[in-house]
Symmetry: C2
Subunit: 141 residues, 2 copies
Amino acid sequence: MPHSTSAPRLGDLERVVMEHLWEAATAAGAGFGGATVREVHDRLSGEREIAYTTVMTVLDRLAKKDLVTRERDGRAWRYFPADTREALTAQTMRRTLDDMEVTDRRTALLHFLDGATSDELDDLKAALAEIESRAGPQPSP
Amino acid sequence: MPHSTSAPRLGDLERVVMEHLWEAATAAGAGFGGATVREVHDRLSGEREIAYTTVMTVLDRLAKKDLVTRERDGRAWRYFPADTREALTAQTMRRTLDDMEVTDRRTALLHFLDGATSDELDDLKAALAEIESRAGPQPSP
DNA sequence: CACCTCTACGACGCGGTGTAGTTTGGGAGA
DNA sequence: TCTCCCAAACTACACCGCGTCGTAGAGGTG
C-alpha cells in the first residue's frame, strides 16, 4: 500500500500554473478571470519552452484534484482557481497541523511563532482580533 | 526536472517510525531515548508484518533527510529524532506559508484561524503571549 | 569455525509529476 | 460540401519518492 495522506500536493509546474490563474483572477477585478489553456500556454511560452499539451495535462490534473474548476468558453475550457491562494495555504497548514497528531499544540504554535517576523505577528494578531469580533465579544472570565 | 520544493515530506511508514522514536524519546525522560532498528522493528511487528530491512531502509532515508540522527550503540545504530514533533510540525507549516508566496498573509492566517477550534485559539493566544513576554515588555507606542 | 546479528547496497513496483505525441471531433472559411 | 485548424481527449514515457525486501559482508560469541 504505497502511501496516501489524502492531500493534494502541488508540483512545481502545477504551482506555476496556479500562479497564472490567480493573477488572472485578481487582474480581472474579482468578478471574472480564469484562463484558457492557450492563454496560460502563451504566457509560459514567454518564459520557457513548453508544449501546449503539457499545459493542458497539468490543468486537467489540477481539475481532477479539484484545485481548479472549468467552464465552457466557446470550444475551449476556461479554468478558474477553486480557492484563493490564501485559502489553499491555510488549508495546507491546517492539514499539516492535523496530520501530525500533535498533542502539545501550544508548543507547536510556539515554535511556529518563533520563526515569525514581527510583521507576521501583527498580521496574526489582526486576524485573531477579527475572528474574536466576528464571534461576538467574549465575557471577561 | 521532476519537482523539488526542498521540503522533506513524510510518507506513511516514515511517519509511523517517527512516532516510535518520539515515544521512545519522551518515555526515556528527556535525557535519552532513541531506538535501534531492532527495537523499532519489534514494536512494529506487533502490529503488522514487516521486514527488518524495511525498517532499516526507512530509518536510513530519514537520516539522509536529516529528520533523525544516529549514534553508535555497540554494533548497532541508535536513532534519535532530530526535532520534536512540535518543531517539525511548525517547520512544515512555516514552509508552506513561505512557499506559497502569499502576499496577503493576514487573509491567509484568517482562513487558517477560521478552521480553528476555540481550544486552538486559546493555545495560540497563550503562545502569542509567551512570545511577547519573551521579547520583553513592549513600550507603549 | 559456525553462527548470529547488524549494516550496506541494490532492486522492484507503484503512484505522482513533468513532458509530450497522437487521435478525434467540431466549427469556419474556400 | 470539403478542408483546415484548433482544442480536447487519450496515451505514453521517464524520473523520483516511498514501501517493500533480498543478498552480501563484517564482526563478535560459543
